[in-house]
Each structure stands twice: as C-alpha cells, then as structure tokens.
Amino acid sequence: MNKEELYNKVTSCLVEALGVDEEEVSIDSTLTGDLGAESIDFLDIVFRLEKTFGIKIPRGGLFPEHILSNPEYVKDGKVTPSGIEELRKNMPHLDIEKFAKDPNVNNFADLFTVETLVNYVASKLN
C-alpha cells in the first residue's frame, strides 16, 4: 500500500469516527485542535484503524493515556522528567522532544496529527 492509499484510508477512519467532512482533513491537521477529537474518539479511531488495516494496536500503544493519567508522571499539569522518559520509551511515533520543551499535559494532544497516524499505521504494516 503506498502512502497516498494509506492516507486516504486513515482519512476515512477519521471521517467516520469524528463525523468531520473529508475536506476538513489534511495531512497536518491536529486531531484535537483541528478535528475536535475527545478522549473517547481516540478509542474509536484505534478500533477503526485496527479493522481497516487488519492490525492490532495495543491499548495505550498509540495514545499514552496510561502515562498521562499516572500521578507519578504528571505533577501540576506538567509531565515530569520520568514521564518524559516513559513517553520516549513507549511512543517512538511521536515528537517527544518538541513536547519536552513545554511539557504541559494540555499540549500533548497537539502532537497527534493525521500524519502521526499515517506513520504509525505504516510502521505496523511493515
């Protein structure tokens, strides 16, 4: 599957899960900021990606909810150095270095763009 096919299929998943129009989705759209995704939508996206591509995504494999909801890794709304380390270890598909500059939990969702999903699925398919 080439990258364009992959992108089109990921877009269909997002259209279904988020109820957005296809035209609203571009490769650099952020899932929460631009497309309005909430926490349950992330699960919805995971299920649809699994089904569409026949892949298995471990819970917490794409979106690190288990890290960001762990008080050991988040203090005063910021991810702690040990939390950042944990993210580096578990989320190779994300630009953690960019996030580490201002590790406010609320900024984390901005790391997820449509391209993140495309790359993640591509790594799974390989």
Binding site: E38, I40, L43, D44, R48
Partner: protein
C-alpha cells in the same frame, strides 16, 4: 418496534426475567444470543420457542463471573452475526446471609457475577457498538440497590454499583450513539425470588401498593422499549418497575 434481524445478547436467559426478555425479542424476529451458566435444558427450551416464533437463537454456555468468558460470549456472537445491537445484562445471583457469617467466596461470587459480569460484557460489546454508532445496553438492577433487606449486603452492594456504573458509562458513550440504562425491578415472580416470596408472601404483598407481584413479561416490555428507537433520548437512567413498593414507608 422492529427488531427483525437485530442482534441481542441476553445473559442469564434460561429462566425468569432473562427468559422473558429473550422471548419478547424472539417474537420480533431478532437474533438472540442466549447466555446461560448451567441450566442447559431450560436454555434449550427458550431457544426452541424463539426459533418457532420466527427469531434466531444461539445458545452460549458461559460463566460471566469470569472475564475471559465475557469476551468469549461477544466473540462468539460477532463471529456468527457480525454485530451487537443490544446487550441485556440480566444474569444475577443471590447468596443471602448476614454479613458476619457470610463466606468470602459467596461475597465474591455475587460481586463478580452481578457487577463484574455486567462491566466486562459491556466493555466487550462497546467497540462494536461504537463502530456502528449505535447501541443499547440495558442492565437489570434491582430496587434492592437502594432499599435492601437484611441478609442482602452483597446483592444490594452489587446492584448499587451497577446503578453507578450505568450512569457513568452512559456519560462516556453518549456521543457515540450508545445509550445505557438500568431497570430496577421490585418483587417479580421468578425462581430467584421464590424463597423470599414463599417465606413472607403476605407481608411483602402488604407493602406493594399495586397489590401483587410483578411478572417477568412486564420487565421484558420495558427492556424492549429501552432497546427501541423510541427510547433514543433516554440514557443513564435507573427505572424502577416495582408496583410502587418503594413509594411508601412500609407500614
């Protein structure tokens, strides 16, 4: 209300309220997965009636107090029918006794069956309901969730927890087109309540304003309504159906 071809899972479907609910959907030509734990013969009879009335029935023996078995039920249904439209978490047990003399294993069995069975079956069906942007989860609770009797600490606690679970899950999945409600029956004529009714029939009847015990079909009517499109705006509710037993002060 058309349920033709809809896929319905009913736990504890061999007898009592579960059986009545399964039969009601069966008469509407639904596809019904009948879960039962031990009474194969009774479950088989329920399945036979459903098939004869134009529905489809799938018998699934499983102990829902085991998490893996909950997943097994849903896998089985999805493999056969490819979706789940309605889940009725009906299976429940009692192991009554005063807390001080209650066996730990009895407490555990009641909580794992009544509460955890409901939780893990719901968890297992949600991905499928979310993908189709529609689903109904109906939990059979009890008026004992709020107003228990002596000896029912485990049963009441399990049902109270089912009520809380119902409300929070409803909040979590509402935007995905899934509703979650609970039915809280009062004293219904089933095998489960037989012992209590036998011991104190007159005293209990005196507390029921409508003056009789309920029957399982009356619960099934409400379950079917909650599963229907007519109930699309109802979610997170605990609906009592108890002949008014919880209205008075019991004197």
């Amino acid at each position: 209300m058309s349920f033709e071809g809809k896929v319905i899972i009913v736990t504890g479907a061999s007898r009592g309220i579960g059986r009545a609910i399964a039969l009601k959907f069966g008469a509407e030509k639904a596809k019904i997965a009948l879960n039962y734990c031990s009474n194969h013969q009774a479950a088989g009879e329920t399945a036979k009636i459903i098939t004869e009335s134009g529905g489809e029935a799938l018998l699934i023996q499983a102990d829902i107090s085991q998490r893996a078995e909950c997943e097994k039920i849903v896998d089985h249904v999805v493999n056969k029918w490819n979706s789940v439209d309605v889940l009725v978490n009906n299976a429940g047990i009692t192991r009554d006794g005063l807390l001080m003399s209650m066996q730990d294993s009895d407490w555990e069995k009641v909580i794992t069956t009544n509460l955890e069975g409901t939780v893990f079956l719901s968890k297992a069906v949600l991905p499928y309901m979310m993908m189709q942007k529609k689903g109904r989860i109906i939990n059979i609770s009890s008026v004992s969730a709020e107003n228990g009797r002596r000896g029912q600490a485990s049963y009441s606690a399990s049902k109270g927890a089912v009520n809380s679970f119902t409300k929070v899950l409803a909040l979590e999945v509402a935007q995905k087109g899934i509703t979650v409600n609970a039915i809280a029956p009062g004293m219904i004529e089933t095998d489960m309540s037989d012992l209590v009714r036998g011991m104190a029939s007159k005293q209990i009847l005196a507390q029921i304003p409508i003056g009789r015990f309920g029957n399982p079909e009356e619960i099934a009517q409400l379950a079917m309504f909650l599963a229907s499109d007519q109930a699309s705006y109802i979610t997170g509710q605990i609906i009592k159906i108890d002949g008014g037993i919880t209205l008075g002060i019991g004197i």
